[in-house]
């Protein structure tokens, strides 16, 4: 569902560009708004959310899908935790559809999906591993890295039970905006994937803003 935001970018107290292949690990407080903007279009922002006060509680793909009986995320979607509590609500979305089935690329899954010799290529789960290693203060480890959201990515499911990776429906300047229902750690890997159309074979920067 397309829904525009009324927030003024000039009033955001965080505005940060994240290059493709980089991560962003940041705490936002309950009631704050996070916007992720797809600056150049066709980018995938692979995102994990944690309860900042108890990181064993985190975004759950299955609780979210079951809670809304739908596989796509858009304005109105409530992102639920593994304790089945609301973590964030999508309040604005100019893209219209975001994926949470496709997971994040990893060097290991790249060998299966593309070629055994693509193990060396940079992947989202590498960015997450580096993030948890460089920020021990948050108490996150590999155990906490589970199923994520791919903002701006389009993964339709067919009636026969197929799963396709379609061309993105995002475009330059499209954004998604979420309001935190609890204190949240946001962990984004701005996807460096060069092997599939999730970012048009051309990874580009995203912009994160917090109000």
């Amino acid at each position: 569902m397309i829904k525009e935001s009324l927030l003024n970018p000039a009033e955001a107290h965080v505005q940060q560009q994240i290059g493709a292949g980089d991560y962003w690990l940041h705490r936002i407080e309950k009631g704050q708004t996070l916007r992720i903007t797809d600056l150049e279009g066709n980018q995938a922002a692979d995102t994990l959310f944690f309860n900042a006060d108890d990181t064993a509680e985190r975004y759950s793909m299955s609780d979210t899908l079951r809670g809304q009986h739908n596989v796509f995320l858009t304005a109105g979607s409530v992102l639920r935790s593994n304790d089945d509590r609301p973590m964030l609500t999508i309040v604005a979305d100019t893209c219209g559809r975001h994926d949470t089935l496709g997971g994040a690329c990893a060097t290991e899954s790249n060998t299966v999906r593309y070629d055994l010799e693509k193990r060396h290529m940079h992947a989202c789960r590498d960015s997450w591993m580096l993030a948890v290693a460089e920020h021990p203060e948050y108490g996150l480890t590999r155990r906490d890295i589970t199923h994520n959201i791919n903002f701006f990515m389009n993964v339709p499911v067919t009636h026969e039970g197929g799963l396709t990776f379609a061309d993105g429906i995002s475009a330059p300047g499209k954004y998604v905006e979420l309001v935190a229902q609890m204190n949240i750690l946001v962990l984004i890997s701005n996807c460096p994937q060069l092997n599939n159309p999730c970012n048009g074979y051309n990874p580009t920067p995203i912009l994160v803003s917090v109000w």
């Binding site: 064993a56 793909m61 299955s62 089945d84 290991e108 999906r113 590999r142 799963l163 990776f165």
Partner: protein
């Protein structure tokens, strides 16, 4: 020497065991309507676990059936679905917790109902995880066997069928695997009476490689190569 073991689990129960590489596990929906939530871990490295998104995207599928392989988050194949007379198992709906179970089927605790209590899949997994030093942080999206869940063009999820009397699915393991399972209701079960379909379970120790049907996709051939590399490290 005993080469096979057979048992039946009532609905609302849980179990765990290690399957050895090459062995087979057969699940049978004895009476119709069974649901089996299942998770996999590598017993040598419990941080390696079943990954539903990798499993689905590696094979471009939303439904799981014969010929599909079930992947770890390290690019390796825990097992392949060797045979399946049901045809559609799902891996995105997860499992119900205590509150959701009570909301759907009413509260029913052990003091009141003994083993007929309305046990939930989340607690079942927690109990089995704890036996191996694991916990909530180690839980991932499970597979729900015998659950046909379809998504329409708008992405709306609909559970179309749950089990069928006599339906069977056989898993052939490609590496040593810690299996956790519960027989609690599927998350999209309509409310009302707590479902009571038992599960038939057979473990066959006789070793066999992944069948041809599981190796038709190039992805699965590469996944098996990753298993072989892991095996090689063990033998060096």
């Amino acid at each position: 020497m005993t080469t096979s073991y057979q048992t039946q689990l009532p609905a609302g129960s849980h179990w765990s065991f290690v399957m050895r590489s090459g062995s087979a596990l057969t699940l049978t929906d004895v009476a119709g309507g069974a649901n089996v939530g299942m998770l996999f871990y590598n017993p040598e490295n419990l941080l390696e676990r079943y990954n539903a998104p990798d499993t689905l995207k590696c094979q471009h599928t939303f439904r799981l059936t014969a010929g599909h392989c079930l992947y770890s988050d390290m690019g390796r194949i825990f097992c392949g679905i060797e045979a399946d007379s049901f045809g559609w198992h799902e891996s995105v709906c997860g499992t119900l917790n205590a509150q959701q179970t009570a909301a759907l089927f009413g509260s029913s605790d052990y003091q009141q109902a003994r083993n007929q209590r309305h046990q939930n899949g989340y607690d079942s997994f927690l109990v089995e995880l704890a036996k191996y030093g694991l916990g909530k942080r180690d839980m991932a999206a499970c597979i729900n066997f015998f659950a046909q869940v379809r998504a329409d063009d708008n992405g709306t999820l609909q559970r179309e069928q749950q089990g069928a009397q006599g339906a069977e699915v056989r898993l052939r393991f490609a590496m040593d695997t810690l299996v956790l399972l519960h027989t609690c209701p599927h998350p999209l079960t309509p409310g009302g009476d707590y479902p009571r379909a038992p599960l038939g379970l057979q473990i066959d120790a006789q070793r066999a490689p992944l069948p041809e049907i599981c190796l038709q996709r190039a992805e699965n051939q590469r996944g098996l190569r990753n298993n072989a590399l892991y095996q090689l490290q063990g033998e060096l």
